[in-house]
């Protein structure tokens, strides 16, 4: 579904991402694990069209994305929840969800998706009028995931959903992601938290200093924790 080949991103003299190849198949959950500064977020920005890569190609459903501007990628079915959650802090929960479905053409689908999100996270329904910036960290992350789901995506990209959350909340996020896996959604999960990622994803890429160091199934990565420890 998503095919990344030879992507390179530079900021001046600094090489953030160095010729990465990566592949996500339909219905699959793929995890990217790596430490701070590994180039994970740059990669997400390139998929989202926020940063233009210096080299390489991103192909989504056999369509080359290099000429597709950021705001049109969501229409193709790519939905990204960026690092820092990408909320609109002074808008209410409901308005945030409406923004999540900004690309939707039909009001019906919008209403349906909002109901689905409220079903997934009932706490959001309770707080639908509250400003997003005043929610707790965990609730904000739930809202972020809901926003991402609002556009009925084909590919769901999550950047660091566990960042700054308490372990108990991280566990809850994990449960949610596994629930999403059952619905057949294709997910690209970018995380520092390898344990969470391995518990959700089927395949894992390990990224450090802008290079893919290791690539394997989640089970095998879990089975040999020394690889992880060595690399991260």
């Amino acid at each position: 579904m998503l095919e990344i080949s030879g992507i390179t991103i530079r900021y001046g003299p600094f090489l953030a991402v160095n010729a990465i190849d990566l592949r996500v198949n339909e219905g699959e959950i793929v995890g990217i694990v790596g430490p701070n500064g590994a180039g994970k977020t740059s990669l997400v920005k390139a998929i989202g069209g926020i940063v233009r890569p210096d080299a390489g190609r991103i192909v989504f459903q056999s369509r080359d994305l290099s000429d597709v501007p950021a705001h049109l990628r969501i229409g193709l079915g790519i939905s990204i929840v960026p690092e820092g959650r990408g909320l609109f802090p002074r808008m209410s929960v409901e308005e945030n969800l409406l923004m999540g479905g900004y690309a939707l053409a039909s009001a019906e689908e919008m209403a349906r998706n909002i109901e689905r999100c409220f079903a997934l996270f009932p706490v959001l329904a309770e707080r639908r009028r509250q400003a997003a910036g005043t929610l707790s960290g965990g609730q904000q992350q739930m809202l972020a995931i809901s926003i991402g789901l609002m556009s009925t995506p084909k590919l769901f990209v999550l950047d660091e959903p566990s960042l700054g959350l308490a372990p108990i909340v991280i566990a809850e996020i994990g449960r949610t992601l596994r629930k999403l896996r059952e619905t057949g959604l294709t997910v690209l999960l970018i995380e520092q938290n390898a344990k969470l990622t391995c518990s959700v994803a089927q395949r894992i890429y390990i990224l450090t200093s802008g290079i893919v160091r290791h690539h394997d199934t989640a089970d095998r990565v879990m089975a040999s924790p020394e690889v992880l420890e060595h690399l991260i």
């Binding site: 001046g12 233009r52 950021a70």
Partner: protein, 325 residues
């Protein structure tokens, strides 16, 4: 070592040109006067460069500080003080006011402070109009006597312009010394990221206030000398337009470089005088000049020329700050 020598060579050439100009123009009081006004602009632009170019603060009440100094100096010398003593007291007093007016900069980040200083400048102008007893209100003060030199002679004509040239040269040298000192490096660190500067152990508050004091000193020395040179001051002499003009000179020439603001002042200050006969198009030409530089040389003249040399750098900066959408 050669770099250092080259730097001081530029200063020497500047000083030579500055001193030669009034002498060469001494036959024509009008051109000499324009040169004199340009020296004020050089001094003021250099002072504002310390704040805007090196500390990253954009104070649009600069003209107001010059005005406070001018009014204090003229007020004291009208009460029988020697002009030079009055100027010393006036400049220091105005610079202390400058520190107080700089206080909001400690709390306000980036452009908020600029907008705030715009309002501060408006308050200062209002105060000049309102405190009639001290400033003679909007009538202004005319017939300002020329400064007395020791020996009873008056500072006038070419001698005055030479003094102004000296002050302008001293201003540029002082800025260079500051920029190369550890104080200057601390200021630059603050400009780049004042949070980071704080963690590096720099007392951001004290450095910013010190920068305000020094820059205000540039403004106020200029203000004190401006009043007798022009012979007339009124609240409109030191209004927001002066501050904006000085700032435009800095941005136009290239902020954060020693010579950019000097070049900006030398180009822009004489424009209204040179175009005096073409008054119908003067403002339009001035405006187009500013727009042209901003569009074609975003870093100002000096910054733009420097940047052309390392073409890839700004693109990288642009990508980091405001990514492609």
């Amino acid at each position: 070592m050669t770099g250092l020598m080259r730097r001081w060579l530029a200063h020497a050439i500047f000083a030579l040109a500055a001193f030669a100009t009034p002498l060469l123009l001494s036959g024509n009081r009008y051109f000499a006067f324009i040169a004199g006004i340009t020296f004020f602009s050089v001094l003021w632009a250099t002072g504002m460069n310390l704040l805007y170019g090196y500390t990253g603060l954009m104070p649009l009440m600069f003209g107001g500080i010059a005005g406070i100094s001018a009014y204090v100096t003229i007020g004291l010398s009208a009460n029988g003080w020697s002009f030079w003593l009055a100027m010393l007291v006036g400049s220091v007093a105005a610079s202390l006011v400058g520190i107080v007016l700089g206080l909001p900069a400690l709390r306000l980040r980036g452009f908020y402070f600029t907008l705030c200083s715009l309002v501060i400048q408006t308050v200062i102008t209002l105060a000049f109009v309102y405190f009639v007893n001290l400033t003679n209100g909007d009538v202004g003060i005319s017939h300002i006597p020329l400064p007395e030199l020791p020996g009873g002679r008056q500072l006038a004509g070419t001698a005055y312009e030479l003094v102004l040239a000296t002050i302008a040269v001293i201003g540029v040298v002082v800025l260079t010394v500051i920029v190369e000192s550890s104080f200057g490096r601390r200021l630059t660190a603050i400009r780049e990221d004042d949070g980071l500067a704080e963690t590096l152990g720099i007392n951001v508050t004290r450095q910013k206030l010190a920068a305000f004091f020094v820059a205000s000193l540039f403004a106020s020395v200029g203000g004190a000398l401006y009043a007798p040179y022009v012979g007339f001051i009124s609240p409109r002499s030191f209004d927001v337009l002066l501050s904006l003009n000085i700032w435009v000179m800095v941005a136009f020439g290239g902020r954060g470089t020693i010579w950019g603001p000097v070049i900006g002042a030398v180009i822009l200050a004489p424009v209204p005088f040179v175009l005096q006969d073409y008054y119908t198009i003067k403002d339009v030409v001035y405006g187009l000049l500013i727009i042209g530089v901003v569009v074609l040389l975003p870093g100002g003249i000096v910054g733009g020329v420097k940047r052309k040399g390392r073409a890839d750098a700004p693109a990288a900066v642009a990508k980091q700050a405001a990514p492609v959408r």
